[in-house]
Assembly symmetry: C2
Homo-oligomer: 420 residues x 2
């Protein structure tokens, strides 16, 4: 049976980033660029003042009081129309273009008008001191020049990237497309969420939960409902699901007589890469690849996960295995984010032969990350997951972990840009 | 002029969580519950086996070899039909309901069949040792009982909450609604993103950027285009925008002669709470409240932000002021997440009278959070923001900060559930 690391390797060996697709700029938020974008403008587009003051020729000032005639008043969004010649100055506001002839801006606080009062064109301003050429000016192209790369390929699109790309006129952007993720729950015991379960029945909570996990991981969920434990129905519903980029099946992958999913996947030509992983919960996990998509559908493979039917197992297998697959398709690197090493706050007794991914609460205190395993009643206990924000990893074999031991923790949520 | 802290207090003094609204369960992802949800089921719905093995009466075992007759084979999703009486056992699979009469499950590894081979109904199983009552069984209602609270009000809906709510049949959920955030850029210098800017013109990058920031903060952007610097047009466009829950105006709030926004807001009856905040970039920020919404529109106030037109100022004012407003409306507490205290990795010279929110890169090393300010060319330099994932805060007055000084850092993105 594969270890978790081996299973991840086997998945990532199969999965390549999805082919580039052009989307509208707003729809690129949260996706990874598949092209480098260069600027068609200089930014700022002209030399501009970064202070309210007077644009003048620095050579006019000699340290003593200098009187200059105000020839124009320019504000942001206006173009100056008068060149500044010796003995003259232009009243200029922050963000306004520097007039021709001027090489320096003196702050309004370092000037006074003569006569005192508001500065007006034709009036006189008195400036004491000197000015360096270029002072209080940002030069044309200082932050960005025509032809310069605004954003390379392989970068996450956040609001500031949207802004920077809008600034250079990028209305459509090539990104790795959001994968369509089909979600098909299987099992005679399932009833839709809106129905009252009878004896031995449970509601189909996995569809909604896996849909939400898919959204959080950047995929586009395609809800396919419930398939019954009947070979013909299963095969037909799975065949429809294979049109997606990723297909998640929940249930039917253990080894009971009603676990029909592996046989139907085989019959449909889905190549099995592995079945079963050495972990708890989630051991029955099945993973395979289907290359039968028609050429007009892009002939990209479909990656198929047979997830265990119990909701906690299903949630854990998504976080450990499906999320890295989606990250790789979306172009995120690394596909498997590094776990956090956190300090156990209490003694923990791990049981069982298999490595256990225990629901846990991760928090930060003055000493760094700390983790507290949540008590849980096995693979159907979603209530434990509601109390948790992470999985704490305990290697197999069973052991008692003392407080202050460091263990690996996999947070359910983390910032996408690595900031925290 | 208000400090940043005073401006935040003034905003949060005005803003209350948005009224509850019922949404479909899938649409509640990322929102905060406005009702407590109780269970209509026991989970698990019956006593069930957590191991593959044999369900039996613990009193039948005495430590020596005991031979039991196999009376039934039950798998998950089936209901047992035969009660286990003394001398009998039921072959049971993980997740299957415990048959009547049985009080214990012995693992299959601790049994052998007589004759050796697959266990079949009518055959005999030999078990050595004893069994504790209740072993390898999870009791009905162990994780959740009818009437028990699944989720209180005020909690973030993540995928596991979606699963837990689906399990108890919750198709619609009361949450604090996603606020509609109108975004109206103002200024004669703006051209749409798809056009080539002429001399003195720039593309309207703020609309797309603020839309993306709004989405990231949980709001629903309503893009309102560009309004020209013309009182009649401005007033009409702002009036339309006031139908949203929050209205973001960009540009027109400085004190140039073309900065018409405050006057038009006043004319429309928007009460100004403050104008100008002591920070860099973002000083011209304007905030107000409008209570003129017709009763049939819910008569909730509209919160109006006049953001500076420069993209970096606009981005910073959103992160510092609009995001807490949206968090409060959405029901997130605290509305202002605690900043990170991070170690400066290099000397930094802060300039200017106002506290500066400098684009920066936040990362984690073995010693904890570290921050590196990004070089920037002022409030139009979005390229600096593309290099950044946070804002580093330098108190006003200008100073040289030595390496290893701790400074406050505001990350652009962080996990929503506090895990990291």
């Amino acid at each position: 049976m594969l270890s978790v690391a081996e299973a991840l390797d086997a998945i990532l060996h199969e999965v390549k980033p999805a082919p580039p697709v052009a989307v509208e700029l707003a729809d690129a938020l949260g996706l990874i660029t598949a092209e480098a974008v260069v600027s068609d403008i200089d930014s700022p587009p002209f030399d501009k003042a970064v202070m309210d003051g007077f644009a003048l020729r620095s050579g006019d000032l000699d340290g003593a009081e200098t009187r200059l005639r105000i020839v124009e008043h320019v504000i942001a969004g206006m173009l100056p129309s008068v060149a500044v010649t010796s003995g003259n100055a232009t009243r200029i506001m922050t963000g306004a273009p520097l007039p021709q002839g001027a090489d320096s801006v003196v702050k309004v606080e370092d000037s006074r008008n003569d006569p005192p009062g508001p500065s007006s064109v034709g009036g006189t301003v008195i400036i004491q001191g000197i000015a360096e050429p270029g002072q209080n000016i940002v030069r044309r192209g200082a932050s960005l020049k025509v032809g310069q790369t605004v954003l390379p390929a392989g970068r996450l699109v956040r609001p500031q990237e949207i802004g920077a790309l809008a600034e250079v006129g990028k209305e459509h952007l090539s990104v790795h497309a959001r994968p369509k993720v089909g979600i098909l729950a299987t099992g005679d015991e399932l009833v839709p969420v809106g129905e009252q379960p009878g004896l031995g029945q449970i509601r189909n909570s996995n569809e909604a939960m896996l849909g939400a996990q898919t959204q959080r991981a950047g995929g586009q969920p395609v809800l396919l409902g419930i398939a019954r434990d009947n070979p013909a129905e299963l095969r037909e519903r799975i065949a429809a699901g294979l049109r997606c980029d990723v297909l998640l099946l929940s249930g039917g992958v253990s080894e009971g007589t009603h676990d029909l999913v592996p046989a139907e996947l085989a019959a449909l030509g889905v190549r099995n890469v592995f079945h079963k992983v050495h972990l708890r919960p989630g051991k029955p996990l099945w993973f395979g690849v289907w290359k039968g998509k028609p050429a007009q559908a892009g002939s990209w493979p479909t990656y198929v996960f047979g997830l265990p039917g119990n909701p906690v197992s299903s949630l854990v297998c998504f976080e450990l295995f499906v999320r890295p697959c989606l990250r790789r398709l979306l172009g995120f690197e690394p596909a498997v984010p590094a776990p956090v090493r956190a300090r156990l706050v209490q003694e923990h007794v791990a049981q069982g032969e298999r490595p256990t991914y225990n629901p846990a609460r991760l928090a930060w205190d003055a000493q760094g990350p700390r983790v507290e395993p949540v008590r849980w009643h096995g693979s159907s206990d979603l209530q434990a997951m509601v109390q948790a924000n992470a999985l704490a990893v305990f290697p197999g074999g069973g052991a008692t972990y003392q407080p202050d031991t460091f263990v690996e923790v996999i947070p359910f949520d983390r910032s996408t840009d690595g900031s925290i």
